[in-house]
Symmetry: C2
Subunit: 496 residues, 2 copies
């Protein structure tokens, strides 16, 4: 298995991602850029999400502004309570996250949900000092995670950069319900940037200030939580379920979750199953993943049920998705805060009600990291990225065997044109071995090599990334053969 | 031709876009959200840009952080000079953009580039007063367009939200040059959000605080500005050229621009032609567009050549794209500001040099608006959006003739499955006439209707959006017929 350092070294070497603005010495921590291959893979992750989650359940995808007025976050509760406990050195003013500092330096695990007094007492009790200068640590206080944006000139409204994309969905729900002629249950989704003022951004993509979320909010009538006609299609989907009161996860089907009343209703099992299928399509194997049931202590006070989707990684279990039954908390808050009616009519009972929400909140950058780590392979001879073909940043590479022989280069360009729809890479630099190595490293599923025989008999060598197997193929059949190879490399539907 | 109000009414009625967070009374101006159809169209505009500009010239696409440290904007010049001239009422403190106020209320045209003193004198001379309270207007001063983001807790670096996406490209150039084994000329592109503190955001998508750009920066050796091997492919592309010293635009080919030395070199003509082709694929006809040559007064001091791509609209000529020959200004500034070597080696002359930049900066939201307005059609009977099929938010709709007849609805679902790859809309509500009207309004190119004959003979009615022509087609041939229709409706390549 790959280490965190393996992945980061690869990422930096091939510019999958790298620290933003880093030609400047004082560039702040917590901001990353995706290079060309990273951008392509990130885009493919989003496309799969659209295909396997949004399109299958006819969700609406929107794209709302990142900047939102203060009132939104008063209603959502973020302004009052979205804050981390910090302690500051009284001498050198270094700042630490109190719960993390305590967890790192004691035997116990501390949580941000503990009160400031409790955490302050623990700092004193454990005699913790400033790691930099040995100074005393001040009392624990809260530091808001909200990032303020200084917009407006004349009439100023206090604005913040959203800390999660879903607030735009909640604010737009009533408008979309009306103009899109919605019938519940209805999912509304968006992918985009969100911002959180982390005290100590770290581990590259895993904890950033500016990051990507893919969020889906399914609005439904709680009375109808078991009316999901399409459930049969996913009933047998296997999930690795870690119950709150059990030591070990256990493989169960979506159907079992419903029958054993482990979930609040069919709708929940339906979306857990679709989420599992999406993650499997990313190359994250069932046995390396788990849905971890959150107990009451871990859930937000309004949440009725919660499952963290986690994946094994070199830095421990990594949370990629928060699946939460948020009840009517969000719409209720915005209805009260805005004075706008956010109820809908239950045509059967003729009652007005505030829809409930099932949330699937995916951390896109973390998922990207996990996909890289799980695709990372090495043996004595080489390193290769066994990405599902649908995620590969380039699908095929074309090599002229010798780059100083014009007829070979010309023929390679011809083959490149044959494969135009696959946007093939033409690489002419270095030995064939080096070119294979470079293409394995970024996960290109297939390489096509043109040699002197090609000029005679119109055949080329096709080499597969995962097996390094090579076979001779007529150019005429290349497209067909590549389709087969790409399907075998877990391709799902880019070419369909 | 459609009016601005026509387009906005349609946009709001069908939620193409709408003001963000507007359930809150104090939501700030200048922020818009894209609803489901708007999101789909916006996405298709980006995909076309990738296909017709980026892939054809092997550009690298990146995705850098929105937040950047102050030093970046010291080097780029934004901190010192990216500001609008404003005047404030001394009585009620209302703020105005001085150049606009003067242009609106006098016979002359004033520009933001004029000095504060000049503009102040003009205010006095023209006896302009506050439009709200009649109070006197104070001296003109500059108001920065930069949006500050309050990030960081402990070690704070002053940060801004980028006012243009290209600064990330300039900062990452050296890293990408090395890790991506770049040979110049090489384009690097990105699409994403940018932020500008407009004094008076207005006209919905046309002047926002938070907006989308698609920018491409082509780095090249100025010595090689005429070495573009692929130019032949676009030599005959027609452009509507508005020279700075002429009254009227004139159709010219890209080849003529080179021969008559109207542009600095072949590379410029090449990218102008590709840009024209992209815009044509958006349904913006050649005769409604122009490349307007900027004279020295209009260009930035460092720019050697500039062409604004403008399109006719109900609010006048609308600038969609800034095409600029930025010389080595950007990299030189960042090299000086960061102390990082941004030169590259000219292998032929063995000299180090700072690459020059040709920029294609597309305002995505404005382009979106222009595409809607140009696709807007109405006659006595109906309103329809004649979007190129590649941009249509849905490609096909499926209607059961009567929605209360289960066999028809079942058959419609069957047909929907046949067309799965096209993600067809199933609409069962209201009369067939109303359903056609709804689908015309959002630009669905084809509707397929299932009636009682379908149950007998497995044929359906296919209706085209632009002509309203209907014909009877066997379900078996549906896919083939739809492909033809979609091609005819200017489809470019989604299904290839």
């Amino acid at each position: 298995m790959a280490t965190y350092e393996d992945v980061i070294n690869l990422a930096l070497r091939r510019s999958f991602f790298y620290p933003s603005s880093d030609i400047y010495a004082n560039a702040p921590a917590g901001f990353y850029s995706y290079g060309p291959y990273g951008t392509a893979i990130r885009r493919a992750l989003i496309e799969q999400w659209r295909r396997l989650l949004l399109e299958r359940t006819n969700m609406l995808e929107i794209d709302s502004a990142i900047t939102m007025p203060e009132d939104v976050f008063k209603s959502s509760g973020h302004l009052a309570s979205f804050a981390d406990p910090i302690t500051e050195c009284v001498k050198c003013e270094s700042t630490y996250r109190a719960d993390q500092l305590l967890t790192d330096h004691t035997e116990k695990e501390y949580k941000e949900a503990q009160s400031d007094e409790e955490l302050t007492a623990a700092l004193v009790e454990n005699k913790l000092k400033c790691g930099k200068c040995g100074g005393a640590l001040g009392p624990v206080k809260r530091s808001s995670l909200m990032v303020k944006a200084d917009v407006g000139v004349a009439k100023k409204t206090n604005c913040y950069l959203r800390p999660e994309t879903c607030q735009g969905i909640f604010c737009d729900f009533a408008k979309l319900y009306k103009t899109m002629r919605v019938k519940l249950p209805q999912g509304i989704a968006q992918v985009g940037k969100a911002f959180r003022n982390e005290i100590s951004p770290r581990q590259t993509l895993l904890r950033q200030v500016e990051f990507y979320q893919m969020e889906a909010e399914v609005f439904f009538n709680p009375r109808e939580i078991n009316d999901v006609s399409e459930f049969d299609a996913v009933r047998d989907t296997k999930l690795n379920i870690q119950l709150a009161d059990q030591d070990k996860p256990k493989i169960m089907t979506a159907g079992e979750l419903v029958e054993k009343k482990i979930v609040s209703g069919t709708l929940v099992a339906h979306y857990l199953a679709l989420t599992q299928q999406l993650m499997a399509s990313y190359g994250l194997a069932l046995e390396h993943c788990r849905f971890r049931q959150l107990d009451e202590d871990e859930r937000a006070f309004y949440a009725k049920e919660g499952w963290d989707f986690e994946v094994q990684s070199s830095v421990g279990w990594l949370e990629l998705i928060a699946n939460n039954y948020r009840t009517d908390y969000d719409l209720k808050g915005h209805q009260e805060g805005s004075g706008t009616d956010l109820t809908v009519l239950d045509e059967e009972t003729n009652n007005k009600y505030i829809p409930h929400v099932w949330e699937i909140s995916i951390g896109l950058d973390r998922t990207f990291y996990a996909v890289l780590e799980h695709a990372y392979n090495k043996d004595d001879k080489r390193m290769w990225l066994s990405l599902p073909a649908v995620l590969a940043p380039r699908k095929v590479a074309v090599f002229p065997l010798l780059s100083n022989k014009p007829p070979l280069v010309e023929k390679a360009k011809e083959v490149q044109k044959v494969l135009l729809g696959l946007n093939p890479v033409l690489d002419t630099r270095g030995s064939i071995g080096k070119r294979y190595a470079r293409s394995d490293e970024i996960g290109i599923p297939v390489c096509v090599t043109i040699d002197f025989d090609t000029l005679e008999d119109e055949t080329v060598t096709v080499r597969e990334r995962d097996t390094t197997e090579q076979k001779r193929v007529p150019i005429q059949e290349l497209w067909k053969v590549l389709e087969d190879v790409l399907v075998r490399a877990k391709r799902l539907s880019t070419l369909q």
